[in-house]
Amino acid sequence: MRTITAIILLIAVATMQWGCKKNNDNSGTLNLEVRHEFNGSPFAFGTNYTNNLGQIYQFNTANIYLSGFTAKGSTPYTFENTYLSISPDASTYTIDSIPAGDYTGLTFDIGIDSVANHSDPTTFPANSPLNPAHPRYQHWAWNTGYIFVKFEGDCDTSNTGIAGTAFFYHLGLDQLLRTVDIDQQFSVDPEGNATVTVTIDYAKILDDIDFRQELSTHTMNNLPLATKVMDETVAAFE
């Protein structure tokens, strides 16, 4: 008796499992590996760095939203609902499942596409970086739209050698969405994993920034400065 029941149960479980699963037999998973570097060395928060103008600074926040992922190749594949929040605290991110095949690279946007950017944040799934429940959720509540890129830290504005003045660059707005294009061959096996690796060189981001004049912006109050930091952020992706 028990054996029969056990067998029936087993069949039931197998059937249900199969029924639940999406039809993705021919897909694998694509991951993004991010190397956080500063001039070729590992990046660290709270470490004094010097930019090309000789000014000292350190980061304590560096969050970047990425969206609009497309795998390049003879049959390109676009990921519809992938939003990532990248921070130096983590290096491996799951993009999503992808049809098996050979690809030649990856393009993605720094920032959030205009549709999602003006959506109600509370309607995204609770585990999405766009939902207020996410620890790195960043949104301008007083002007609907996400803060695409948030750099915060301290800098030396008075030549004392001590990074004692807070700086912040909160960059957003549809017009500051920027595309990054990575050429990198990868193949996806059915049920397998593939990884695209990018490097962010944080040294590039605050080069040419004169902290005495360009200490902070929340984009709307200083679009030229926001555009400058955003363009340097794009250049930091390799």
């Binding site: 029941t5 029936i8 509370t122 949104h139 509540a141 609907t144």
Partner: protein, 350 residues
């Protein structure tokens, strides 16, 4: 046979459990969702407010939103609720020039009335926010106001079984950012003021307005004063933005430029409703005008010079009697039944 029964029961349960596992958790939780229709009870000269499809009005949602409106747990140090700055006797505004938030900190704008907020198209003096639901995210995040991430607020509410039950009934889910902002918006949409002496006069009660208020209404509508060009319609606002010549220097608060980045929007602010304006002093975005008399003096003077000033603000002269008439009219927009209605008061303690 005896052995088979419990076994097959177990099997049935296992199968049900498996099916349940396939579905979203939501349908299981939705069993207690209750939707008692909400009745607007509006007079003919008031349209029914537009309500977003995903937040239909129900009595459960309104009741929950009212509880949240008076809930200090929504602020970092559990001392400030929405009602601290939006107080019913002042038509949900604040007699302080600039309201105090957590740790007694002050922001940079006067708390506006929430009278008839259901009819607004944009929110905040600069109009940066497109819906009443999304507006709720602003005071919670603002470090001068409640300073608590809405997700942290939701986690606090989940520790309270009464809230778990009320959220389940109203939205079929536990407290989260989605349900918190919708419940508060549902309650705010009920803040409709349509029973002032002016409204009774519109509905045919010719004794509702004093002769002075009727003369004031004529002045308000006149080409000489132009008030009704901006403060127009049943809610005394065109829902637009205008520069009314308040200052010549807006470096402290650029107004609508803050969200549009256009130089031509410096000094433009939301045109507010004038309903219950008698009790919502002080006036203007920065609370810089203390009385209705000072507001009228401002408009009569033609305001300060500024390239963006509306061409409608040119100045005029009024006799003392005419000024008193205009104030009598503005007072006739006060709805006493609104300012003390029990449906807006905090619920009895649990």
């Amino acid at each position: 046979m005896r052995l088979l029964q419990p076994l097959s029961k177990g099997l049935a349960l296992a199968i049900i459990w498996l099916f349940a596992g396939c579905q979203s958790e939501k349908s299981v939780q939705e069993t207690t969702l209750t939707a008692t229709p909400y009745h607007w009870n509006l007079p003919d000269h008031f349209p029914e407010p537009e309500v977003p499809a995903d937040n239909a009005m129900t009595q459960e949602r309104v009741d929950l939103g009212r509880r949240l409106f008076y809930e200090p747990l929504l602020s970092l140090d559990s001392t400030i609720s929405c009602a601290n700055c939006h107080q019913l006797p002042f038509a949900f505004s604040d007699p302080d020039k600039v309201s105090a938030g957590v740790h007694g900190r002050r922001g940079f704008r006067n708390s506006p009335t929430l009278t008839n907020i259901a009819y607004n198209k944009h929110f905040f003096f600069d109009g940066g926010i497109p819906s009443l639901e999304l507006q709720v995210l602003a005071p919670l995040d603002n470090e001068d106001e409640m300073q608590l991430n809405i997700h942290q607020a939701a986690l606090r509410l989940r520790e309270d079984s009464t809230y778990l039950y009320l959220f389940q009934k109203a939205y079929g889910r536990q407290p989260d950012s989605y349900s918190i902002i919708r419940a508060l918006a549902a309650f705010e949409r009920t803040m409709i003021s349509a029973n002032s002496p002016y409204d009774r006069w519109v509905q045919g009660d010719s004794s509702a307005l004093s002769p002075a208020a009727q003369r004031g209404l004529q002045l308000f509508m006149s080409e000489k004063l132009q008030c009704s060009q901006c403060h127009s319609g049943f809610n005394f606002t065109n829902n637009g933005f205008a520069h009314n010549g308040l200052h010549s220097d807006y470096s402290d608060d650029p107004g609508r430029r803050r969200v549009t980045m256009k130089e031509s929007d410096i000094g433009k602010f939301k045109v507010p409703t004038l309903r219950n304006v008698e009790v919502s002093a002080p006036y203007m975005h920065d609370g810089s005008l203390p009385t209705l008399a000072s507001v009228i003096d401002h408009y009569a003077s033609g305001g300060q010079p500024h390239p963006n000033k509306s061409p409608l603000i040119t100045g005029f002269s009024l006799t003392d009697n005419e000024k008193a008439d205009l104030i009598a009219f503005l007072h006739s927009l006060t709805d006493r039944s609104f300012l003390s209605h029990p449906k807006y008061l905090p619920q009895q303690a649990r």
